[in-house]
């Protein structure tokens, strides 16, 4: 099996070494970075398959890294990893271009799984992210600007609901009588909508949640 080359970007040294120790043998950690500057440089030099990206960091945080790296046309894939549960952090980093979001409480095996998934171009949703997406797409009755991008299909909604209920992709496939590949396709499609939808309610919803 091909090993996945990973760069860990996090400003906590303890956390970086913890993640390094937990990852499975199919993951090769090729470097670490501790702030926006060093992350951008390291990504340019090392060209990792997947960047494990912390959301809160000195110098603008994960969103700034995403902006600078993806803005320059790089194809590197990002998996956001954070202690934060705040809706605007989660939605913000996904809209910034990350292909998934998991919280730091995730187990080593699950994280390994998530990294491999992202390296293959799929999306990774934690139950909480799935909940946020369902909430954000349901929270408004305003007519969508672009129906294709601004609303979820019935099937996508079902998949997200199962993720929110704590189902793994394999379990979702079994539950809905579809293949794991199809589950991945649905999740990737939701990710695309989340990133491209012009619906400004998404960001507004995320910020409004804090102010309630």
């Amino acid at each position: 099996m091909k090993t996945v080359r990973v760069l860990i970007v996090d400003d906590h040294r303890l956390f970086r070494s913890g993640v390094r120790a937990e990852l499975g043998p199919s993951i090769q950690v090729i470097g670490e970075a501790e702030d926006v500057e060093s992350a951008v440089t390291a990504i340019g030099e090392l060209q990792p398959d997947v960047v494990l990206l912390d959301v809160h960091m000195p110098g603008g945080g994960g969103q700034e890294v995403l902006r600078r790296v993806l803005g320059s046309g790089s194809q590197v894939r990002f998996l956001a990893l954070s202690v934060s549960d705040a809706a605007e952090d989660v939605i913000g980093v996904i809209r910034g271009g990350a292909r998934g979001y998991v919280t730091k409480t995730i187990s080593g095996a699950e994280l390994t799984d998530a990294i491999i998934r992202v390296s293959e171009g799929d999306a990774v949703f934690s139950p909480r992210l799935a909940g946020f997406v369902l909430d954000a797409f349901a929270s408004t009755e305003a007519p969508p600007i672009d129906p294709e991008l601004d609303s979820l299909t019935q099937r996508e909604r079902e998949v997200l609901r199962l993720i929110a209920r704590g189902y793994a992709y394999k379990e979702i496939a079994k539950e809905l009588f579809i293949s794991v590949k199809t589950v991945e396709t649905h999740v990737s499609s939701v990710l695309r909508k989340l990133q491209l939808s012009n619906r400004h309610e998404l960001s507004r919803w995320a910020t409004a949640r804090r102010l309630v």
Binding site: D85, P127, A164, R165, R210
Partner: protein, 398 residues
């Protein structure tokens, strides 16, 4: 966004007929009715009528015509009194304007009235702009919020200036006023140049002080919170260092508390379903030392049926924590327009439902029975080795 929309004062239907409301009328409610129709502030229209009255009494004629052709709004009970105070204010305003127009000869109609009209419209725009509620409503719809405000303010100011100059020109005073204007401009400009750096520093200083104060207040709040809860827990953890289970429980409970404080909107757990589910999960997590992950989509107020649903969900969580052996329990609550669903799932041992002895109250009575008694339903899905999922559904009372 939505709530702002609903705050719009009974937005009129597409072709609603104009009526004269009795409440808050100054004379006959014509201005108020027209304002509701045009979605303007009634004050704007009242001022417009006063201004037009100054010019050849046009306003009175227009008002009277609208009065005749507009039906009165039906009122139940005693008719509310006229706003005499406002009427007096508009009367005084009219007197002042009429006197001014008489002195300058602008009231005779024709070309001489135009500057007053232009200046008046400009002033109205500025006035409209200054009303905070109105501005907010406009802003919520505008895409380029700041720029539209500036454009409006600019147009308003320009109209006032044009009106003033036009008035001077029309009354043949422009030439005379020029020397005065030049003098004023030079003096004001000079003063501004002297005072500008000082004003700029003052504004900056004020802003800096304000942000600094906010920052300090925030820091004090965070310090208080960290001191109260986090430091206490750390002390407890050190004291219990020999008991791994207790340490894990303390750490987890502190983590949850800190997370709620940082990221969750402040909600009343006695009134909101989402907050109540989170509280129940937190309590059971503390009691059993098993992690419970909660995801909530949507929220609604609690009622009798939902309280029963909460009790059943708590029982399901207790069962999962006690008997499944799984390290994590997932709870998912979703509020839909017509029903509320809660899933409690674990990846633990599972069991054979029919093998559960009839005297075990947990599942049959506290979960299934309770839901059915309250008009809801419960479904338990489990297989040995394949975990357990309890699905609870309750219709929402409309």
């Amino acid at each position: 966004m939505l709530s702002e929309m609903s705050e719009m004062p009974n937005a009129p239907a597409a072709y609603s007929r104009m009526v004269r409301p009795a409440t808050g009328r100054v004379v006959a409610g014509v201005a108020q009715g027209a304002a509701a129709q045009l979605r303007l502030d009634p004050v704007v229209l009242r001022l417009a009528f006063v201004l037009l009255t100054v010019v050849d009494g046009l306003g009175v004629v227009a008002y009277a015509a609208l009065w005749m052709f507009t039906p009165k709004e039906e009122v139940k009970g005693r008719e509310p009194a006229r706003e005499w105070g406002q009427l007096a204010a508009y009367g005084v305003l009219w007197l002042v304007l009429a006197g001014f127009a008489w002195m300058t000869g602008a009231s005779s109609g024709g070309f001489g009235t135009w500057p007053i009209a232009v200046g008046g419209i400009g002033a109205l725009i500025l006035w409209q702009q200054a009303d905070p509620g109105r501005r907010q409503r406009w802003m919520s719809g505008a895409v380029k919020q700041v720029s539209t405000t500036w454009v409006r303010t600019g147009i308003g100011a320009l109209l006032v200036v044009v009106g003033a100059i036009g008035f001077l020109a029309a009354s043949g005073e422009l030439a005379k006023a020029r020397t005065g204007l030049v003098f004023t401009a030079v003096v004001v400009g000079g003063m501004l140049m002297i005072a500008a750096p000082w004003l700029a520093t003052l504004v900056k200083e004020l802003q800096r002080e304000r942000t600094e104060r906010i920052r300090q207040e925030e820091r004090a709040e965070v310090a208080a919170h960290v001191h109260d809860s986090v430091l206490h827990t750390l002390t407890l953890i050190q004291r219990n260092a020999h008991d791994a289970r207790e340490v894990a429980r303390l750490a987890r409970s502190q983590e949850r508390e800190l997370r709620n404080w940082l990221y969750q909107p402040k909600q009343d757990a006695d009134a909101s379903l989402a907050a109540a589910v989170r509280r129940v999960a937190a309590e059971e997590e503390d009691a059993h030392g098993v992690q419970i992950e909660v995801v909530c989509v949507g929220d609604c107020e609690l009622n009798e049926g939902l309280v029963a649903l909460l009790h059943a969900a708590r029982q399901a969580m207790v069962n999962a924590c006690k008997y499944s052996g799984a390290p994590v329990v997932s709870v998912y609550a979703e509020v839909e327009p017509d029903e509320v669903t809660v899933f409690v799932r674990d990846r633990g041992k599972g069991f054979v439902l029919d093998d559960v002895p009839g005297d075990r109250m947990g599942i049959r009575q506290s979960i299934i029975g309770r839901m059915e008694r309250n008009g809801g339903s419960a479904r338990v899905r489990t297989e040995p080795g394949d975990g357990t999922e309890v699905m609870l559904t309750m219709k929402r009372e409309q």
